[in-house]
């Protein structure tokens, strides 16, 4: 199987090592072919499925590249120029989907940063059954987006869903079109996503909280700090690295949202909850217009890289305070 290629041939390795001398210096000195043998299996994968497609994708984006047509004419930057304006059909869909991704991230990221931190701080106290709670909140993450999508599509069904029924029981409107109209569709997608990934962020926060030395809090107690001050001046600064990690991961996974939209709203109403990733996948792998799709993906990638830089910059400035 694929795995068998992994360990580089031992006899060769032994020989190569012997030729450079089995001396002590061999460890830090150059050792001929051996490093390359160790690297080879991964580098094969890396070249074929990361390096090659990165370059190839750029090349594709410069063509009117329909996967199914034999002729793929070179069009220069035309695919990108089409995206610069909302006048073209493709530019219009693209910016609508970028807006959808942006809105979804804007709504979901703050919730996914704050609520898990709250839950983690509660779980960080001494509690009976803490392991149980932690496992329960984490469980949906293991189930994956497909199960979560199916389940929430059912819970949110405007006509027969549990959520509308419960709303009716407590005197709220029981006919909210969760999956078919705005703003409800956003509420639904954000709620399902928070439910799904809350445990993931909680677990990372919790590990971070447990790294904070207890004597910092004791010192704060001696200084007469109140709980808010302890949070502001001990917890938050100590969590900075973890916060950076959680923020980056949450922003990037929100920006990559696909399954929830596909399974819960199918992009409805119209295509207003179709995310950028969903559009790129449909355009490239559904309709095989790969020139358009790759151009879109590079523009999206540019946005995501800028966002990551902004996050890093923000945390660096925080660190200087």
């Amino acid at each position: 199987m694929a795995v068998s290629q992994a360990p580089p041939a031992p006899p060769g390795a032994a020989v190569a090592d012997a030729t450079t001398g089995g001396t002590r210096t061999a460890r830090s000195g150059s050792s001929g072919l051996v490093p390359y043998l160790f690297l080879a299996p991964y580098l094969v994968l890396f070249s074929v499925f990361v390096l090659a497609p990165a370059v190839y994708g750029l090349w594709i984006s410069l063509h009117r590249w329909d996967f199914l047509l034999p002729v793929k004419p070179f069009v220069g930057l035309q695919n990108y120029l089409n995206l610069l304006t909302r006048e073209t059909a493709v530019g219009n869909s693209f910016w609508e989907s970028m807006g959808a991704t942006g809105k979804f991230s804007l709504f979901s990221v703050p919730l996914l940063l704050v609520i898990p931190l709250l839950v983690a701080m509660v779980l960080n106290k001494k509690f009976p059954a803490r392991t149980f709670f932690r496992a329960v909140f984490f469980a949906p993450y293991v189930l994956g987006v497909a199960v979560i999508g199916l389940l929430w599509r059912f819970l949110l069904d405007p006509n027969t869903g549990l959520l509308n029924y419960l709303f009716g029981l407590v005197g709220l409107p029981d006919d909210i079109p969760w999956t078919t109209a705005l703003p409800w569709a956003w509420v639904a997608l954000v709620a399902a996503t928070v439910w799904w990934t809350l445990g993931f962020n909680t677990v990372i926060y919790l590990a971070g909280l447990q790294e904070i030395p207890a004597d910092l809090y004791e010192a704060a107690d001696v200084d007469g700090a109140n709980p808010w001050q302890k949070f502001r001046f001990v917890t938050l600064p100590q969590l900075q690295r973890v916060l950076l990690f959680v923020t980056t991961v949450t922003v990037l996974s929100s920006a990559n949202m696909f399954g929830q939209s596909l399974l819960i709203t199918q992009g409805a109403p119209g295509t207003q909850t179709r995310t950028a990733i969903m559009l790129i996948a449909q355009e490239g792998l559904g309709s095989f217009r790969m020139g358009n799709a790759t151009a879109m993906s590079f523009v999206l990638a540019l946005f995501l890289s800028l966002t990551s830089l902004l996050i890093f910059g923000f945390f660096r400035r925080l660190g200087e305070d």
Binding site: D17, F38, L43, K125, K126, L151, S297
Partner: protein, 300 residues
């Protein structure tokens, strides 16, 4: 290193470090409020899963009745018969097996290729090292969406479309595993390896017999994270697998929803079949899985 060992056992660590108040929880008002929040959240998490289970035993009428009918009149196995019978157009068990094979092979492939590469980058000097390392780390920051269409063309040229290869292999090229293991190897004390070289061992022997055994926790973490990522992958398999026998669970469940529309009992039965084994594994391995995730955050 300290971060790693602490993260490996968060709870025992915290419990041991807690002030010696006789091992009993002290219940102040904030603590009661916190506990209330946890109970509320637990209901919010368990109720939907329970609802999924109950619904899978209903008839279509019972599942779409308004006002809601909580429990079925008769607990029917119709939904399960529909998806589990041989020759079903939506063979959920087959998808489950495909997902198992795919996630297992993928996770092993990641570890088997990333570990030697990471070791070379952590402990060996060779011409081109900085270039290779720079390239690998550089791609950590490239959003994977740009690989989507070109990789489709590449795997198609291998004839891999609609086979399990397509969900096992390309994803293993990601840079995270190499980066993660390299960090771990750099943290190992080099003296042990040096002693082995003095005893006449070669690099391959040192790697296999000393480094890998010392790295079991990191290897297990990487295995777990890769397994979960592959198990949950949705977009890529959704587009590269299409015949019913070839699907993995996530695209299969998408297909189930498309085919059964509002036959919620069948859809929920599919979700149950997909969930139960994973939840069972999770119950036994949850510490391990959760701590793998927690560690990735602290190291990252």
């Amino acid at each position: 290193m300290a971060a790693t060992t602490d993260a490996a056992r968060p709870f025992t660590e915290a419990t041991d470090a807690a002030p010696p108040s006789g091992g009993r929880t002290r219940w102040g008002l904030p603590k009661i409020a916190g506990f209330g929040l946890l109970i509320l959240l637990t209901v919010l998490y368990l109720a939907p899963l329970l609802w999924m289970l109950v619904t899978s035993f209903k008839s279509v009428n019972e599942a779409t009745r308004w006002p809601l009918q909580w429990l079925p009149d008769q607990w029917l196995t119709r939904s399960y018969d529909t998806i589990l019978r041989p020759g079903s157009a939506t063979p959920v068990l087959r998808w489950f097996a495909n997902s198992m094979v795919s996630a297992t092979a993928h996770a092993l492939l990641v570890v088997a290729t990333a570990a030697p590469a990471a070791y070379a980058l952590a402990r060996m000097d060779f011409p081109g090292k900085r270039l290779v390392f720079g390239l690998i780390i550089g791609t950590l920051f490239i959003p994977p969406i740009i690989f989507l269409a070109p990789n489709y063309v590449i795997v198609d040229s291998f004839g891999w479309i609609n086979t399990l290869w397509v969900v096992i292999v390309p994803g293993a090229a990601g840079a995270f595993g190499v980066f993660f293991l390299r960090q771990f190897f750099l943290g190992l004390p080099p003296e042990i390896e040096e002693a082995a070289y003095v005893d006449g061992a070669n690099r391959f022997q040192v790697f296999m017999r000393i480094v890998l055994p010392l790295s079991k926790p990191a290897l297990a973490t990487l295995l777990t994270l890769s397994y979960l990522a592959n198990w949950n992958d949705f977009l890529w398999p959704f587009y590269v697998l299409f015949t019913p026998e070839a699907l993995t669970l996530p695209p299969g469940l998408g297909r189930l929803q498309g085919q059964f529309n509002i036959d919620y009992p069948v859809i929920m039965a599919g979700a149950v079949v997909a969930s139960i084994p994973v939840l069972a594994i999770f119950v036994f391995a949850q510490r391990y899985i959760i701590e793998g995730v927690a560690r990735s955050g602290i190291k990252g």
